[in-house]
């Protein structure tokens, strides 16, 4: 049971894992994804509100406050939970990005174009 810290084979595996993950990360993180227009807010897996990202405003709920800022970004600015993870996650604006609040079971997710835009097209 004497193992080495690293072997040649394992270093190749680890390096290729890093490469694969970096590529995955590039693919998902903004380089190719567009900014979203609307945000869906779910509580207990039910859609409770759809927020337009083009209008600046502050949205207040019982457990948290959200703010939409100029460049179509949305962030949680206040939460009543202890860990404050959702506040630390900062601003999001790209399609697919989301902010989660596990204690309050709320999910904020940036979506693509709104249904209205699709109808107009």
């Amino acid at each position: 049971m004497n193992k080495k810290f690293i072997t040649k084979r394992d270093s190749i595996i680890v390096v290729s894992l890093i490469a694969i993950c970096l590529i995955l990360w590039l693919l998902t993180s903004g380089v190719f994804s567009k900014t979203g227009r609307v945000v869906h807010i779910y509580q207990d897996n039910d859609l409770i509100e759809t927020v337009d990202l083009t209008v600046n405003k502050v949205i207040s709920y019982q457990h948290l406050k959200l703010m939409v800022s100029e460049n179509g970004e949305i962030a949680v600015i206040w939460a009543d939970c202890a860990d404050q993870v959702c506040v630390k996650m900062g601003k999001i604006k790209l399609i697919g990005q989301s902010i989660m609040c596990l204690p309050n079971h709320i999910l904020v997710q940036v979506m693509g174009e709104s249904d209205l835009d699709i109808v107009i097209k």
Binding site: K3, T7, V14, L17, L27, S29, N45, K88, Q97, M100
Partner: protein
Amino acid sequence: MSNSIRKLTIISLLLAIAIVLTMVENLIPIDFGMVGIKLGLANIVVMFCLLTMGARSAFLIVLAKALFVMFSKGTVAFSLSMGGGLLAFLVMYCLIKNDDQVSYILISVLGAMAFNIGQLIMISIWYSSLAVFYYLPVLLISGIVTGIITASILSRCMPLLRRLY
């Protein structure tokens, strides 16, 4: 008989170390503005246990640590600890069992990645939504980095820890 008492004592000791390491790493202010990016120091203990004392003892530590999390932080944190811990345990166990040549770094890196995937699976179950998998690449990269760190700590500590068991 005395041998099994000795084993039980060491497992309890390792569990205590795992819990303390988790508390210590919570004190380290690494903040990437991201959920789930942690050093995973407790994984060192699980790896040590898996390598020296066998799968049963390691499984016991994963389970007991998750239970401790449940009592101190609640059921959501428990499910995350359990999902991550179990998947990491399975991956590391299969790796050690099927590959004699495997090095610390590969066990640790794949274990850390599995832990993060397991946690994401649990979160997506809580939300019944796959939205969280958006963070998978970042979490995997962080898993690789923290895996390398924990592997180097383990390989340094191994000669000392071997005196324990």
